[in-house]
Amino acid sequence: MSRTIFEKGANGRSGNFLPANDCPVDDLGFAHRREGEIGLPRIGEQDLIRHYVELASKNYHIDKGMYPLGSCTMKYNPVINEEVASLGGFAGLHPLQSEDDVQGALELMYELESDLCEICGMSAFSLQPVAGAHGELAGMMIARDWFRRRGEERKTVLVPDSAHGTNPASVVICGFTPKTIPSNEAGLIDPEVLKQEAGDDTAVLMLTLPNTLGLFEKDIEKIIRIVHDALLEQAEKGIVDYPDYLFDVGALVYMDGANMNALMGIVKPGSIGIDIMHLNLHKTFSTPHGGGGPGAGPVGVLEHLAGLLPVPRVVKKDGRFSLKETSGESIGRVHPWFGNFNVFVKAYAYIKALGGEGLLEVSENAIINANYLMKKVARDYDIKYPGRCMHEFVASGRNLKKFGVKTVDVAKRLLDYGLHAPTVYFPLIVEEALMIEPVETEKKEALDHFADVMAKIAKEAEENPEILHEAPVTTPVRRLDEVAAARCPELSWSGGECLPMEE
């Protein structure tokens, strides 16, 4: 355990960071002054650096080893991207500087948007949402306003049961009601079931492609058609008025594009009829996750929805870039400025470095790695949906249950072997799920090592399950008491006091 910085800096001395004040402090002329101390540490710089270096040493991270968290796409984060993102010409910009002073930044955003359009086959992208869930919300707002502008108040959003938790949550925050679509035995949406569930009240189908089982919806054309058709009848009857080019667009299809790592250069969602989608730059485009952000969740749409994107929009005219602040139809803003600009710089650098062929190579290797690893892991673990997967697959620890071993035990034991665990207990439709995404930057050797360790653990489960129950033992702390924490959480350092929660 590392002492907190409050303990380490309880009675110390901080350095001197500011020049002497060249203005008088006697007459600040305002009321409501704070009395007493804030309670910030007083710590010398050496001890401060040691504190954070010590904390750093207690983290698993990409530069340490494979990070097969399913759905999270923990690929290598190139150091050049960090360097260029920290250039003063980017980091020092205020968002209200004149357009003349920010042409480089606007050009970067403009080009990134159009590259994302090309990659996804969408007509327009807004970079404003700052995370995947934020992109989902913006996308839902677009759908909401699109219907509202047409005088409709459709309430239902269809969400497959394998969806990421943010999907139904975003639906709700936006005022829609989610309706769960069960997956069939193949782990896919059944077009027949969908047809039954889609109806007059259906605004959107929100699907993930490839889905969170790592499977491509092989009936995707049919699925999109069904959703689009859900309103078509009314359109044909003239009840609602659609522009010509939307002749076959009914309810909307939203794609959670967080799994786009599998599809670059292979499928363009927009080209197959996806109306709205978001991307996670902090997954597919290699911008680091920062232990929980910052991210970026650009939202893209087809032409008929382009006017609804958040404002401002970057526009180009005669080689000059500017910001268009208003649009008649826009949903408005989901962020006060332009989104997480610093993240864009990294994604831009990544896309430029790879180019068209490089992005395809990424998806190819993501898919090859996943299929290869699935094959190896399948020797010792259940795979509910075997066959081909895309960039990830879901294994199950249920075959170890007979030894009294749970998936969480497998996960913790992996930590003892110096590896990170896969995503566990998700998606919910797979019992004892181990969701494994090897990503394209890991090479065969690393996958072999991971599979070997998984095999070893399966053997341990059989021969010596205690080891797994006890795991982890080599980590900075062992299994933590989460129940106590939830009953009376200690959310800030005050010498051990906690806040009792009513049930």
């Binding site: 355990m1 750093a56 920010v102 970067l108 909401r144 292979i266 006060p336 094959k375």
Partner: protein, 450 residues
């Protein structure tokens, strides 16, 4: 440049072991009609040298506020950032790790966020803070939704002086939940009209939002407002500037229920407006309804202190559609930066930042007053205030830009009642007396020798 590490022979071997004869076979579930035709049209791969030079050229095509004499504020400030912040953030143990789902190997991130929560709780004098939100505006929007859930009503009062950009974000979040937002006007000194507020409050009011200092930089009479709000049974949500909290009474002391704010001032580069750092703190009874991640101290099975995510049943990954919010990825690394900033400066250094900002702002105000520049709202501000410049804000700002000065934000478009001459001027600790004199001369219409 490629970051893929498999060689061609690796790939061949892997395909073979997978039992397919070609990569194409793996794409069998994808109908060929759906496939991309040809190569993505985003240009050829660049070498690292080319990436560096392309990005260098784009960066050079900007003129950074941080290198000029900037009086731009309005939510994003040009502040001094100690080197320790950049150093800690450059450690890949922090920046390349994921959300701490496996607590045992994420104690670094977890403890750092726990310490961040502590600092925010102390700054705001609230019971507890969460692990971060996207930015102040979305934190405020979530606080608004939270209040509406707690109070089971759909009306919220905001000050008419609130940033129009923040208001726009509130609007887009409110629309789905049919929340009605009313605005309480401001009086001559730029603070809210308490009388009007009293009249607007009703049992239907879920919450009143108060910005402290407000968008015009003015300090509100928070105790008075708090009294009115709580009398009406509504919640008080405060949007607080964190630097001001070193000098101004913290919201916990005037009984705020939820406090949010923008952490960019705490050691975060301006970065054209992102990433930012929304913070959110609340009273204990509301924690179960609060959005975002919470880190708690606890013990491991050996009784050793450790940290873990807690109250996760509020969160989307457990509760899905019943979650208090859809937030997942937040601003973890930015929260870390803020902690390093606050810890580096420490109690005294942070107070000094606030003190220098306020005293320099006050000095500039005095200079402008002397020079006869019109100052509509008076002296009760923290570090930002409104000036009116005859001839129009835009002309003044353009004139200043020629001297390398970013003079401020024109307010006329967002607040027509203030007129086209109104400019919002922010002063941080980075400004020197010489900078202030230069701005004063420019505002007073003098040439102003550098």
């Amino acid at each position: 440049m490629s970051y893929v590490q498999n060689t061609d022979s690796d790939r061949r071997e892997m395909l073979k072991e997978t039992g397919v004869s070609s990569f194409e076979e793996l794409l069998e579930p994808i109908d060929s009609r759906l496939r991309v035709d040809g190569v993505l049209d985003i240009g050829p791969a660049m070498s690292e040298a080319e990436v560096a030079s392309r990005l260098g050229a784009l960066a050079s095509a900007n003129n950074a506020a941080s290198e000029m004499i900037s009086f731009l504020g309005g939510g994003i400030y040009d502040r001094f950032i100690p080197a320790t912040v950049r150093y800690v953030l450059s450690r890949s143990e922090f920046y390349t790790s994921y959300t701490p789902y496996q607590a045992e190997v994420s104690q670094g991130t977890l403890q750092a966020i726990f310490e961040y929560q502590t600092m925010i709780a102390r700054l705001t004098a609230m019971d507890a803070a969460n692990a971060s939100m996207y930015d102040a505006s979305t934190a405020l929007a979530e606080a608004m939704l939270m209040a509406s859930v707690i109070k089971r009503t759909r009306r919220v009062v905001i000050p008419a002086s609130l940033s129009r950009r923040v208001r726009a974000v509130l609007d887009s979040y409110a629309a789905g939940k049919d929340i009605v937002i009313d605005e309480v006007p401001f009086v001559e000194d730029g603070t809210i009209d308490a009388g009007a507020l009293a009249e607007m409050l009703s049992e239907k009011t879920a919450a009143v939002i108060l910005a402290q200092p407000n968008y015009f930089g003015m300090i509100e009479d928070t105790r008075k407002v708090s009294g009115l709000v709580h009398e009406a049974g509504a919640l008080l949500i405060v949007l607080a500037d964190p630097v001001s909290l070193a000098l101004i009474e913290p919201p916990g002391e005037y009984d705020a229920d939820i406090v949010v704010g923008e952490g960019q001032s705490l050691g975060i580069a301006q970065s054209f407006g992102g990433p930012l750092l929304g913070f959110l703190a609340a009273k204990t009874p509301y924690l179960r309804k609060c959005p975002g991640r919470l880190i708690s101290a606890t013990e491991d099975i050996d009784g050793k202190r450790g940290y873990t995510m807690t109250l996760q049943t509020r969160e989307q990954h457990i509760r899905r559609e019943k979650a208090t919010s859809n937030i997942c990825t937040n601003e973890g690394l930015v929260a870390l930066a803020a902690s390093v900033y606050l810890a580096t400066l420490g109690e005294d250094g942070f107070r000094e930042v606030a003190l220098q900002s306020a005293s320099k702002a006050k000095t500039l105000y005095g200079m402008l007053e002397e020079a006869g520049v019109s100052l509509p709202f008076g002296r009760n501000f923290f570090q930002e205030f409104v000036i009116t410049v005859p001839g129009g804000a835009d002309a003044f700002i353009a004139r200043a830009r020629e001297r390398g000065v970013l003079a401020g934000i024109p307010l006329g478009k967002d607040f027509p009642s203030l007129g086209d001459d109104a400019v919002l001027v922010a002063v941080t600790e980075k400004r020197t007396r010489k900078d202030l004199e230069l701005l004063c001369d420019l505002a007073a219409g003098k040439g102003g020798a550098v």
